[in-house]
Symmetry: none
Subunit: 410 residues, 2 copies
């Protein structure tokens, strides 16, 4: 199987100025055509460092993609670095110079002297056309390895990659096909999911199963490699089936689906409506529900009853109840859900109350404590959680957990 | 001058799944204390590759920061890689095991067998405390070089870096002192800000002024380099003064301040209260306001009146008004603010109504249209905007714009 390595060049990538999004883009595109990226190197604008990284990258892989350092200013040294690596000289290409001159002419601007350098490429290499900027790319071959130099500006890089590089690379994809499936889970920790999966997650296994976690949402990525696309797809689907049998209702969706999307689709399909009454989450649950276009089909009302007065006045909660049990309590969460459902006349309503912190906790009611209640018309289901890791995590996790409780009811 | 290199570990960084934001964060923080990052390496979860990258990174620099691969699952191999690189064995640390066990106990969940591995670190190294997760970090020394292994999850990595790594690294800060100041702006585009600043933004200038933009919030970073800290700080402050003169009230804060924090602090200081009534933003404004701890001092009530019925029933808006002008209109935004202020008995109230899209637009009322109204007790200020770039941008931008309008009133 052909492999690729990526070299990113630019001081701005190493001094905190610029987020490197090019590597993500290129690795995703290469992965999709069955060329894995095995390493990635980032280095500043310095000729010898560039030579060194080109040596490392071409040691790792058959294809080296290089981005950045093609601009017209003195700190752009990728051309020179590539020439030194190849052991050749930079040569002026008249057709490139004319092209750059015509770009400036079309903008009615004089061409700065500095832009001349962009018409030079190492002897024996080929220019790659750039329709979005003045810097042409470069395609080089050396010792059976392929090198593509692309601009660092993402829009120019992407256009050039899609138009000029991808077609050539697809020829190498040939022998091996890759199928990727993603399963999204919620309701258990990463290690507990891994334990259930056991040997399925072993490195070197085909399909490979990767596990990542983001605010409680676990993504399992199944990566199947086979001779052809159909076979790879079958292998991935077989693993998907196995994972579904093992994880059951922990799996809420596939691909890039969010919990709110899945819950929203179920509500819309069943023609059910939902209202929410939030305290500690402060609108985060309503926001998640309305992130999805078309949410107005099922979401109608939300309250952020942050103060006790708001809970009493808007949701009809008895003052005595708050006095007796405290605002963060099972019965208040229940009363919030009931009050919201009654006022909004919806099928379901969710009440959330908790202590987001960092202050306000006690021994009996620690920071992170949250009660979530769902009123579905025939009684309330109320659960108690203690979420760790601080205010932001607690709030988002509580809102997601509420969605997950609702999903399991639908 | 001491130099640093960064090693990022994780298959997800090379197959298009996860954007590497850790390298940007770390390099920015190191840059600010005068330790340049000279190279960065990314590699998959594989012991030998990890060893190889640790060799390369420690060849480049005195300090190596490593992120990722500390999870409890079989694909997390950074501990093993570091042990092999150091030529030592992994050893169980009982205090770490107890810590992990207590995390699970506090959540009333059994600890999976798999998490045991997180209590192991290479012999001769030290654990770094993780208050946001189960994976401790690792600090190692070898041949006069320093290694810090941090989790890949950004929130855990940042907390651990700031609390445990930064203090030690500050000792190495070189002979050249760097002072960094950040100004946060809202209410104008990036290019318009750049145009106002003119030559101040020139590369090579000292202080260097960088400009980045994120959902409408523009961050201007002033980086001053001098012989000593005092001089660098003076230079940065002089530039800050110049920028403040040029940009005036476009600047809302400094450092990492958010608009909601600044508005919240002003409200608390002036002992004023705020309520919000949201339609298209669906809770996003309430969420922003309650992201800050202590928000209950000024934020009491919020409504997400997504349906017309909710607007009529909860905020007392006349049905005829919605029929005549439509729910997305100047007068409805005003009535929402007025209704919210009246019901919540607050000093201020904000009403937001708009078309988040992608559907629901028309020629007169395009997708992205939003009306924001603030009732401050002596009349409403209502503004009309059309925000581009899709649903998510529009919703967050509308919520931020509402906060900015309130800021300018306080």
């Amino acid at each position: 199987m052909r492999k690729a390595s990526i070299v990113s060049i630019g001081n701005e990538l190493l001094n905190g100025q610029t987020l490197n999004t090019n590597t993500l883009y290129l690795s995703e595109r290469l992965f999709a055509i069955g060329i894995p990226v095995v390493s990635s190197y980032t280095i500043g604008d310095d000729i010898d460092s560039i030579v060194r990284m080109l040596n490392l990258a071409s040691g790792d892989a058959d294809i080296v993609l290089i981005t950045g350092g093609l601009g017209p200013t003195d700190d752009d040294l990728t051309r020179q670095g590539l020439a030194k690596f190849l052991g050749s000289e930079l040569q002026l290409q008249n057709n490139l110079l004319e092209k750059i001159q015509s770009i400036f002419a079309s903008r009615n601007r004089p061409m700065p002297e500095k832009n001349n350098i962009q018409a030079y490429i190492p002897a024996g290499t080929k220019a790659i056309e750039n329709i979005r900027g003045t810097a042409p790319g470069i395609r080089a071959e050396a010792e059976d390895k392929l090198f593509f130099v692309l601009p660092g500006v993402p829009s120019e890089m992407k256009q050039m990659f899609e138009e000029s590089v991808l077609t050539e690379l697809k020829r190498f994809a040939g022998e091996q096909a890759i199928a990727v499936l993603k399963l999204k889970c919620f309701g258990a920790g990463e290690s507990s999911v891994a334990e259930k999966l056991g040997g399925l997650m072993q490195r070197g296994r085909n399909p490979l199963i990767n596990c990542t976690v983001h605010y409680g949402v676990i993504t399992l990525t199944i990566i199947a490699t086979a001779k052809d696309k159909v076979k790879a797809q079958q292998m991935a689907e077989k693993d998907e089936q196995t994972l579904r049998e093992i994880l059951g209702e922990l799996i809420y969706g596939t691909g890039e689906q969010t919990l709110a999307e899945v819950v929203g689709a179920k509500l819309a399909q069943q023609k059910k409506t939902i209202a929410v009454a939030e305290s500690c989450t402060g609108g985060a649950l309503a926001k998640l529900l309305t992130d999805t276009a078309g949410a107005s089909r099922y979401f109608t009302y939300g309250w952020v009853t942050y103060s006790n007065t708001a809970k009493i006045k808007e949701l009809g909660i008895k003052a005595e109840l708050i006095e007796e049990d405290g605002a963060v309590s099972c019965r208040v969460a229940e009363a919030m859900a009931q009050g919201a459902r009654k006022r909004a006349e919806t099928d379901f309503a969710i009440g959330i109350t908790g202590i987001a912190g960092p202050g306000g906790g006690s021994e009996q009611k620690p920071v992170g404590l949250v009660y979530i209640s769902i009123d579905s018309g025939n009684g309330c289901e109320t659960k108690r959680f203690v979420f760790p890791y601080g205010r932001d995590f607690m709030r988002l996790h509580a809102a997601q957990t509420a969605l997950n409780m609702l999903r399991l009811k639908l």
